[in-house]
């Protein structure tokens, strides 16, 4: 599903093509067939529109729906699920317990699993890279086990359809692949994480996903630029 431009202006997404958090919002909008204007922020600088629409955190993504501004990627995904409930399949599971499990794993992914991966991408000096890679791998083992329990034999965490947890985790896949290439390691593999390896193929090929995951060669070039400008990543102007 191609990125939609020049909608009636009612829905805008402020973001940047490499950001996994922005990718989450785009996949959710695609699932719901929502037309939106994608407004790209320049790396290292914050536009007036961003500062006005997210004055608290000053971060992308920000969804602007009419006069309403919504920030924080998984909060945006839940908003999209609720605001466009009559359009397209649901994004969150229907049962409270299944929702709790999906939300639990998202908290784990964002607060525990992603930081060492981010540290590898940025080339930060906090600890040896082998230790960071080990943390990423340990997390993938947990997520493999979670997938087997949650998917109940179906293609996605969300069952037959991609859902909240697929989006939250899948948004990192291009960066995961980039790290595999740049560091010469294997992270998701059919021998170590067979279920995730299968899920990954299906997820990346999904109509709502395939046009928003960035090409790996473009991300590799971008990651080199990121490492050269780590200060701007941590303190954008």
């Amino acid at each position: 599903m191609a990125e939609k431009k020049n909608s009636n202006g009612e829905v805008k997404l402020l973001g940047a093509w490499p950001s996994p958090f922005v990718i989450r919002a785009r996949i959710a909008l695609n699932i719901k067939s929502v037309e939106y204007d994608f407004i790209e922020e320049t790396f290292g600088k914050r536009s007036q529109l961003l500062l006005k629409s997210n004055p608290v955190n000053k971060q992308i993504p920000v969804l602007i729906h009419g006069h309403k501004c919504i920030a924080e990627s998984m909060i945006i995904v839940q908003y999209i699920h609720e605001a466009w409930s009559s359009s397209g399949p649901p994004i969150l599971p229907s049962l409270p317990y299944d929702r709790a499990i999906a939300r639990f794993w998202l908290t784990y992914i964002d607060d525990k699993w992603f930081p060492p991966l981010k540290s590898i991408v940025l080339g930060l000096d906090t600890e040896p890279i082998e230790e960071k890679l080990e943390k990423v791998r340990e997390g993938l083992v947990l997520l493999e086990d979670a997938f087997n329990k949650i998917s109940k034999g179906k293609d996605f965490f969300g069952g037959d359809q991609i859902g909240y947890l697929d989006i939250g985790f899948g948004s990192f896949l291009a960066w995961l692949k980039t790290v595999e290439v740049t560091e010469g390691v294997s992270l998701v593999h059919e021998t170590t994480t067979p279920a995730l390896a299968k899920w990954l193929q299906k997820f990346c090929a999904h109509d709502a996903v395939k046009d928003v995951l960035p090409p790996i060669d473009k991300l590799i070039a971008f990651s080199k630029m990121l490492r050269a400008n780590v200060d701007l990543v941590i303190n954008p102007k």
Binding site: K68, I75, I76, Q78, Y79, E82, Y97, R99, A100, F104
Partner: protein, 245 residues
């Protein structure tokens, strides 16, 4: 009265839905694994109490965690864990949303999707920008403490704007966001005393201080708070250690 019709191999059986539902409610088994001084567990207690949900509270010694807790929350090995009908749920903000979606009385979340996003945003903000800074301010000293206090105050300044003109974050009644950041009202003053520092300056933050008074004067909120003296002793002993929760 609505009816649920169940067909089995012997024919159609008509069951009175209300009776069936009440029978299921009586069978509901709600347990909370908690540590009395945990601000995260307190959120869950407040939510269950406001909704009038009966539960059994199992106090964990977080320095000697039970095997059961480790089985229920193998990923983080932390309290609180809510167990409902033998299904464990961890992460207190996740538990809050589960409670609100499962027990419909006294709704905590607003109905409107934008207001729900707004509540989630501020809960997330306080969790990531205020909690760690306030905790660090409690257990550090010198320059490190000064930096943490300033970070905490910057976060409080933003929350102050959010509560201005409102009795509660949920407007007229206590809602999801009040419960999610309610720890500010009781834990931060304790941490201020233990750390000999000040974050919630009443002159700088009159609206938050007014909210604290309103929040803590609600009987359900107040009646379940842990004893302040015990908290002071406990946090003094934790002052130099990393978060054990």
């Amino acid at each position: 009265m609505s009816y649920m019709i169940v067909k089995d191999e012997k024919g159609i059986i008509e069951v009175k839905w209300q009776i069936w539902r009440k029978t299921m409610e009586r069978r509901e088994d709600v347990k909370l694994f908690n540590f009395h001084a945990s601000p995260f567990g307190q959120r869950v207690i407040w939510a269950l109490k406001l909704k009038g949900v009966d539960y059994e509270c199992i106090e964990e010694d977080i320095f000697n965690k039970s095997n059961l807790l480790l089985e229920l929350n193998p990923v983080h090995k932390k309290v609180p864990v809510l167990v409902h009908c033998n299904k464990p749920i961890a992460e207190s903000l996740v538990i809050l949303e589960y409670i609100d979606e499962t027990w419909k009385q006294y709704p905590l979340m607003p109905q409107n999707p934008y207001q729900r996003a707004h509540a989630r945003f501020w809960a997330n903000f306080a969790e990531h920008k205020l909690l760690d800074a306030a905790w660090m301010a409690m257990r550090s000293s010198g320059e490190e403490q000064e930096k943490a206090v300033n970070e905490a105050r910057e976060a409080v300044e933003k929350i102050e704007e959010e509560i201005k003109g409102k009795r509660f974050f949920g407007r007229d009644n206590i809602g999801f966001l009040d419960i999610a950041i309610g720890w500010i009202s009781y834990w931060i003053p304790v941490w201020e005393e233990v750390g000999s520092m000040k974050i919630l300056d009443p002159l700088k933050f009159p609206a938050i201080n007014a909210w604290i008074t309103n929040f803590l004067s609600h009987p359900t909120i107040n009646d379940t708070l842990p004893q302040r003296d015990n908290m002071i002793v406990y946090y003094h002993s934790r002052r130099k250690e990393v978060s054990p929760f």
